[in-house]
């Protein structure tokens, strides 16, 4: 395994499509979890994928970096293109996909290591030199908004952090390998309002640099942080568009019901 240096992300033009989803279907044994989803994600845009529990939004976001393959019994068809390349092409190694398209989960998933080593985890996998790791860890912690709180105690166990800090550490861990895309699967669902606010502030800052795709069932959160909203219902993409338009003047009755909280 040769060490692939974390790519210095060359800037893409504003509004350029980074991820394009075409005809994406995910099938479990009998059930269709995702049904011909078509969606684009562009630079400098935070897209919120909203929908009720069980609508397939978590599965959807897990197809975008092939994490879905870790769940046995699901079959994926259709295309997810990253910078034009279908990530499900047989010649593409899912490990490399996940190094370009990072992910943050519902609950903080810090490893039993120091704060520093958690943030450095992805870089250690790439066998980066130590001085480069030092630099990248600091940069990632600054970008995730955690640096000022932990800079003097980087050697402490990551478990000593609060839930919100742990979640921002997970964001830093994902950012350290400099992905172009970051998937956030309900990143604040286990956090209190204060911690949620800080994670949302981090998201608003990050979307200027990389493509953010946020899964949330919280319409308020989508309104606060996102530029675009995609509404999923029973595996189908019902409607997508600019946040203000979707939340205030949805075209589809289902969307209307969901955003106003009258969901049957």
């Amino acid at each position: 395994m040769t060490a692939t240096p974390a790519p210095a992300v060359s800037p893409l033009p504003d509004g350029a499509s980074v991820v394009e989803v075409r005809d994406l279907c995910v099938d479990a044994d009998e059930k269709k979890i995702l049904d011909h989803v078509r969606l684009d994600f562009a630079t400098r845009t935070l897209t919120a994928v909203i929908g009720a529990s069980g609508c397939g939004k978590t599965t959807f976001v897990r197809t975008l970096n092939r994490m879905v393959e870790l769940t046995p019994g699901l079959s994926v068809s259709g295309e997810v293109r990253y910078l034009g390349q279908n990530i499900y092409d047989p010649s593409i190694n899912p490990v490399l996909v996940r190094r370009r398209i990072g992910m943050v989960f519902q609950r903080p998933t810090v490893f039993p290591m120091s704060i520093f080593e958690n943030a450095a985890f992805g870089l250690r996998l790439l066998h980066e030199p130590d001085d480069e790791i030092d630099r990248a860890v600091q940069e990632a912690l600054i970008r995730s908004g955690l640096w000022d709180e932990v800079k003097s105690e980087l050697d402490r166990s990551a478990f000593s952090l609060s839930g919100g800090q742990q979640q921002r550490l997970c964001i830093a861990r994902a950012l350290a390998v400099r992905p172009r895309v970051l998937l956030l699967d309900e990143p604040t669902s286990a956090l209190d309002p204060m911690a949620t606010q800080r994670v949302e502030a981090t998201m608003r800052r990050l979307k200027e640099e990389i493509v953010l795709i946020l899964v949330t069932h919280n319409v308020g959160q989508a309104a606060r942080v996102s530029d675009r909203v995609a509404f999923l219902h029973q595996g189908r993409l019902i409607e997508t568009g600019p946040t203000a338009e979707i939340l205030e003047r949805p075209r589809e009755p289902l969307t209307q019901q969901f955003v106003t909280g009258h969901f049957a």
């Binding site: 994490m67 985890f121 996998l125």
Partner: protein, 309 residues
């Protein structure tokens, strides 16, 4: 009238102070009393468990300790004359070290592969086989070793045959704990590692192993304790030697072998004394193994606090 405090259905006026006493039926009294009684019974049950162990230790210790000395443990280049334990102690140590190395290699590899890479169906078959193997009487495993190594491979009754048979017997214990330890790593932790771009081997070495380590270590020590106490696999596959085996194709002796051959000897005989000494050493070694594993596991568990929240 304190009607606001009256329970539903209570028609008569009720003293509020009485509210917590109503419903204290004999059935409830009996239930509560039973629970309390069981609480007192627990220490008694603990005594039932601890007394035989204490008795056993005292019995073996009282026979063995007066006859033991540093000289007995360290002397005896040969023990032809049955007067020293150095040879069986060193041989046993070698047996156990080799068998543990083999069992750990096989068990760890198999356990991790089963937990991480096998499909549900295949994994359940492998687990069933391992459980079956762990449940086999050791004498049957001994016969297997005898047929396979001594007869089929034609090595004769040499140390290597015993080492492999013993390893065969210990492997499922290491396998089971390695499998369980890796299977019980929280799924989000596993996914976070893969989601950061870890290859499977990187996940296993950098994230999985530190988390699974205390459990795996427990399994290894348990396997060692079981291996140390086994008699049949060695008895059937190795000819007892009188010197520390110069190589693995030599005869060799084992502590439990002394117990097995010596326990019927007449009172006061050297063989019986030796049997008690060997039994004492085995019991002490097993206890020490258990204590050591607890200390190490506790130290590691402290590092993992917070993982399972």
């Amino acid at each position: 009238m304190a009607t606001a405090l009256a329970a539903p259905g209570a028609s008569a006026a009720l003293d509020p102070a009485d509210d917590l006493r109503r419903g204290h039926t004999w059935r409830l009294r009996w239930r509560t009393g039973w629970d309390r009684g069981m609480n007192y019974l627990l220490p008694l049950l603990f005594a039932v468990a601890i007394i035989p162990i204490g008795d056993l230790l005292y019995f073996i210790g009282s026979k063995a300790v007066p006859t033991l000395s540093v000289g007995v443990l360290t002397s005896g280049a040969t023990y032809l004359s049955y007067d020293a334990l150095a040879v069986p102690i060193v041989s046993t140590f070698e047996f156990l070290a080799l068998a543990t190395a083999i069992a750990v290699a096989l068990g760890l590899f198999g356990g991790i592969a089963t937990a991480e890479f096998l499909s549900e169906g295949a994994a359940s078959w492998v687990r069933m086989s391992a459980n079956l193997l762990a449940g086999l009487p050791s004498v049957i495993v001994g016969y297997f070793g005898w047929f396979a190594f001594v007869l089929y491979f034609g090595w004769g009754e040499v140390m290597l045959a015993g080492v492999l048979t013993l390893a065969f017997f210990m492997t499922p214990y290491v396998f089971r704990t390695a499998d369980l330890a890796f299977s019980s790593i929280p799924r989000p932790i596993r996914e976070a590692a893969y989601g950061t771009g870890a290859r499977p081997v990187q996940y296993i070495l950098r994230v999985g192993t530190p988390i699974a380590f205390p459990q795996i270590l427990t399994g290894v020590f348990l396997a060692m304790a079981i291996g140390l106490g086994e008699t049949a696999p060695i008895l059937l596959t190795v000819q007892p030697g009188v010197v520390v085996p110069p190589n693995v194709f030599s005869p060799a002796t084992y502590l439990t072998y002394l117990i097995y051959t010596g326990y019927q000897s007449p009172k006061g005989s050297l063989a019986l004394t030796l049997a008690f000494q060997a039994a004492f050493l085995v019991v002490v070694a097993v206890i020490v193994l258990n204590i050591v594993v607890r200390i190490i596991a506790a130290r590691y568990r402290k590092r993992l606090e917070g993982l399972y929240q």
